[in-house]
Amino acid sequence: MLLLLPLVVGLVALFWGRKALAPGQVWAALVGGELADNLRAVVLRVRLPRVVAAGLVGASLATAGAIFQGTFRNPLVDGRILGISPGAASGVALSLLAGLPEGALAGPAFAGGLTAALLVSLLGGALGGGVLVLVLSGVVVNSFFTSLVGITKYLADPHEILPAITHWLLGEVGRVRWAQVVPLAMACGPALLLALAFRWRFNLLTLADPEASSLGLSPRRARFLSLALGTWLTAAAVSLSGVVGWVGLVVPHAARALVGPDHARLIPAALGLGAAALILLDALAHTLLPFELPLGVVTGLVGGPAFVGLLLRRWRREGGWR
């Protein structure tokens, strides 16, 4: 059910924009009916890729968040806390500092995210590969890459490079065209399908290692594979949209509140909810005020209070977190 939600929200978001369009006009653009060329371009070349990108980024970040929270048996982690988003961000910041054009940032972002995850794995693995040391390694790696981004901002030319870095760090999908959406879909699609296919299995990763192992799983290997999958999704999303925070943390909680903790239902719910939420927030980001707000700012503004709401709800129902 929740997997269909982004389709509905996405359709609504196509009408939603600075230029008001009638439902008939949007429909005509989608199915190739009678319509002025400039209106058709607005729908097909501006709004549609934007909606698809927001949906893919939201789905990827939320699915990755659900995977990370299960794998690390910790409801407070996401791709940002584990250092993967900051890794991707420093890849981009360094590239901009080195003078790379803004169109060529997906590669460095992806490489930065993977480097961060690799460092987390190596560091955590060297300390025994347990859950807690992996989270702590993530915190260390996060701090390192955040500082790296800070240095590049400090060194960057304040008139040209710095605004570009800042802009990218705040996250947005507004200027996305099909040329960027297609590679994103090719990167996220298979990873999302893998996450859906293996979704029940993530339950076993929430068990203590000896238990998981007595059920025939090799916990360390499974944990690294699942870390790899979450990293792939996060890095792919961040490479297109910049750093969009909170989605990976809050959406899995909201999904858990709706369908319960069983990953067989949680993963699809997080995927659908994440996509729908980001399409909606992106629509708000470019229509709420006379100028366009960065998407990462909107998710922060909405995500924080939403998280508090979820915690309060849990507090009332179950007496809070253990």
Partner: protein, 271 residues
């Protein structure tokens, strides 16, 4: 058919052996208890027998086949480990916890099928806890949680169950209930090995007792022969009295040491 360990050596870190040449065997239809002081290696032994840890030296054989020759999932269909504490980070229902016992029957991409739900229902029915199925595990009482973990081991289809202190943290009535359940499972053909800290329980319920001290077996055999004040003092370093009630029930209780040089053992953790 049997689960047999011979000459097990194990160390978590070099130079600090936990198991030092330990041998024992377990047969279907038998309930065996394993006793020993804190940190003597009981849990480590269970994990070696379950194939979760690989011994540094020695072998564990299931029906004459070394455990490492078995694929992990094939091993998990025959041997189940029931932990003392299971603390899920999320509030899974009892049903979902038991369903995880079906993992050894499912390939990575598979989700539980109809036969898996049937096995879960059967396991819950066998232990009489079908009514708990949809309650969150985290909201259950200690005794109920213990039964849910037992049900998971049954859903695993395992012939041999290795249980870490199934009677810990339970009130006397629930302790009795769990022991009775273990005995019933032995009667139905399972082989069970359970650790305990209660010499009295070990005297009353099992067919066989293993008494352990510092990585080795001190004694093994029928409870009445193994559990004497003398062997217990040797294991725990404190004196014991054997008490009998007129109707023949016996109990073993620790008393303040009467020997001139009591051997004291203090340890804070058991790994």
């Amino acid at each position: 058919m049997s689960l047999a360990a011979s000459g097990l050596h194990f160390a978590y870190s070099p130079g600090r052996p936990v198991l030092r040449g330990l041998s024992l065997d377990l047969h279907p239809g038998e309930l065996a208890y394993l006793l020993g002081p804190n940190a003597c290696g009981k849990t480590t032994l269970l994990l070696c027998l379950a194939g979760v840890l690989s011994p540094g030296q020695g072998t564990v054989e299931l029906d004459g086949l070394p455990l490492e020759k078995l694929a992990p999932r094939a091993r998990a269909r025959r041997l189940a480990y029931v932990p003392q504490l299971h603390e899920p980070p999320f509030a899974y229902t009892a049903w979902q916890v038991v369903l995880m016992g079906r993992a050894p029957f499912l390939a990575g991409w598979q989700r539980p099928r109809r036969e898996d739900t049937r096995a879960v229902r059967q396991a819950l029915d066998q232990l009489g806890i079908a009514g708990l199925a949809h309650r969150p595990y985290t909201s259950l009482s200690g005794g109920e949680q213990r039964l849910v973990l037992l049900a998971r081991a049954l859903a695993q289809g395992a012939k041999f169950l290795l249980l870490d202190e199934p009677d810990a943290h339970l009130d006397p009535a629930h302790q009795l209930g769990v022991q009775k359940t273990l005995r019933d499972l032995a009667k139905s053909g399972h082989g069970l090995l359970a650790t305990t800290h209660s010499p009295t329980h070990a005297l009353l319920y099992p067919n066989r007792v293993f008494l352990m001290g510092a990585g080795k077996l001190i004694a093994a055999g029928p409870p009445g022969e193994v559990l004497t004040p003398r062997t217990l003092e040797q294991a725990y370093g404190t004196s014991f009295r054997l008490l009998s009630s007129p109707d023949g029930i016996q109990a073993l209780v620790a008393v303040e040491s009467t020997s001139p040089h009591p051997r004291r053992r203090f340890s804070v953790s058991e790994s």
